[in-house]
């Protein structure tokens, strides 16, 4: 068996000991073997990937260095624009649309020698926690195909877990990278808000959305994050400062770690998940850190604030799907009728629900009671985190309250589905960073993730703690299922 991590593949391709074309053919073979069952992809870009691989091999043959991702196949969540290649958001409303431009993060991957090989499935417009809200069918969990892969970036998580690719990109608005990563047993990162360009990421909730990596190892996740992050003049919310490199090792000596009580010691968190967080804390103590409980009281209200703020922003962002400029159009007697019929036919039930909820929360007479209150709760969460980070360097919590649940189990009850995001939402509301690392298994033998939270721009220390957890999990941790 040859190289499997992105770091190993890129080193082999750059040195000429392995051809990018053979890496791509191996990835396509794994996809061919498992995709009919898993449905992680909306599209496999076989021709484009082969052509890109041949170009990289030709560059190596000429003595050129294709870059730090040389020959590494990367899967892209299908809400990232790829010029001339269909980009669907797993929605019927973008039927037939091929973007006229490419997302900055995708350009940065190809500029570094990476090879986009698939557009992955998601909950429609990234609204969901199971990928069951895709207009094109559910993505199944590679560890147990009767269970969900999580969501909304379920396709990217499954593609990495099933060994299609060592790296994938997702987007995280309330946990949409971290929750599916945890459920599929891979590493997932939600970077600081503004750290990664969103130019070409189709907007869901603009004060919360952030692009980030999936990988099988923490170092691979760092490699991809360092490739995509940094200022972009095409994104006015992009942070101008130059990021601190993530090559900080795994030394956690003296690191002050707080386990967040409100996200860990509460009803709804499975016992095995809580036990994993405890063991993670013990592992960090063994590695030289100090670990204590910390209270971040307003986190309890994060879910409520999020399910007003995110739908409110979504109702505004999704107003652009009006049958005029792209995608689906249904005929109507006038333009308003055409708009309403197009949107009714093109959006699925969850997207309609959130547009309705968000429009209601913003409408005259209700704005102060709902959206206004939620924005104030957001302030409290930011204040409570600031107080916690005076005493602690990083925080620890579960990523998902449960291991992967059965397909269909929560589909009929929106509120129970929303509760899947209870541990991940506060990070988005605060604009902070967080990473999930696989840490053992739950009652059904499926992967459990532990989340490391860090303040804004705290990625370097966060990755050190994540590497320490990864090292501690390795002896008894879940296999990557690269069958």
């Amino acid at each position: 068996m040859s190289e499997t991590t992105a770091i190993e593949i890129a080193a082999a391709v750059r040195s000429g000991s392995r051809r990018a074309r053979s890496v791509v053919e191996d990835a396509l073979a794994v996809i061919a073997r498992r995709e009919a069952e898993l449905h992680a992809c909306n599209a496999v870009l076989a021709d484009e990937a082969r052509a890109a691989a041949d170009a990289i091999d030709a560059a190596v043959a000429r003595g050129e260095d294709p870059g730090p991702l040389a020959g590494v196949p990367v899967a892209l969540k299908d809400n990232l624009c790829t010029r001339g290649i269909p980009t669907t958001c797993s929605s019927k409303i973008l039927d037939g649309w091929r973007p006229p431009y490419t997302a900055t993060v995708v350009d940065r991957i190809t500029d570094a020698g990476g090879i986009p090989i698939a557009k992955t499935n998601l909950d429609e417009f990234a609204m969901g926690s199971s990928t069951e809200n895709s207009a094109f069918g559910v993505t199944r969990n590679p560890h147990d195909p009767t269970r969900v892969a999580g969501g909304s970036s379920g396709g990217s998580a499954a593609a990495v877990a099933a060994g299609y690719v060592p790296l994938a990109l997702g987007s995280d608005t309330g946990g949409s990278i971290r929750q599916p990563a945890a459920l599929c047993g891979v590493v997932g990162v939600k970077p600081t808000y503004g750290r990664v360009s969103r130019y070409g990421l189709i907007a869901f909730a603009s004060s919360l959305d952030q692009v980030g990596p999936f990988a099988t190892t923490v170092d691979d996740a760092a490699l991809l994050l360092e490739t995509i992050w940094g200022h972009d003049r095409m994104d006015s919310t992009s942070i101008a400062s130059v990021p601190e490199p993530l090559s900080g090792g795994s030394d956690v000596t003296g690191l002050r770690v707080g386990i967040v009580s409100e996200l860990t010691d509460v009803d709804g968190i499975e016992a095995e998940v809580r036990a994993a967080v405890e063991r993670a804390g013990e592992a960090l103590v063994d590695a030289g850190a100090t670990v204590d409980r910390v209270s971040v009281p307003s986190c309890t209200y994060g879910l409520s604030a999020y399910y007003l703020i995110a739908p409110a922003e979504a109702s505004s962002n999704l107003a652009r799907y009006d049958g005029v400029r792209y995608g689906l159009r249904e005929d109507g007697v006038d333009v308003a009728d055409m708009n309403a019929r197009t949107r009714a036919a093109g959006f699925g039930p969850e997207v309609k629900r959130r547009i309705m909820l968000g429009t209601y929360a913003l409408s005259a007479g209700y704005y102060d009671a709902y959206y206004g209150q939620a924005q104030k709760v957001r302030t409290l969460i930011i204040r409570d985190f600031a107080a916690a980070y005076e005493r602690f360097d990083v925080l620890l919590s579960p990523t998902s309250p449960t291991e992967a649940f059965a397909i269909g189990e929560k589909a009929a009850d929106p509120l129970s589905m929303y509760l899947s995001d209870v541990c991940t939402i506060p990070t988005n509301l605060a604009g902070h960073a967080a990473i999930t690392v696989p840490f053992g298994t739950g009652a059904a033998g499926l992967p459990v993730g532990v989340q490391v939270l860090a303040p804004a721009l705290g990625e370097s220390v966060m990755f050190r703690a994540a590497r320490a957890l990864e090292a501690a999990a390795r002896p008894s941790g879940p296999s990557a299922d690269n069958a």
Partner: protein, 100 residues
Amino acid sequence: MADPISRTDVEHVAKLSRLALTDDEIEHITRELAGILGHVREMESLDLTDVPPTAHPLPLQNVLRPDDVRPGVDRDEVLAMAPAAEDGRFRVPRILGEAS
């Protein structure tokens, strides 16, 4: 906070949202939104007087850049993706009329 959401509220919001919902959808959504709004009312237990709202996590002011000419997206490529286009513009059904 506000009164429970009614079917009339939902019909009004559907119109604001430009969504031609069926009777079944209106009924479903009324029930589901009532459930979600019931849950978020837990925020009423917090004392939020004197707490300022947060709209955005970054302290961003206006972002300026040099006014230099750079290529934008190609007009023909954009219009090729439109459901209907004519003479370099998007074509839409009539905007004014007795039907609205």
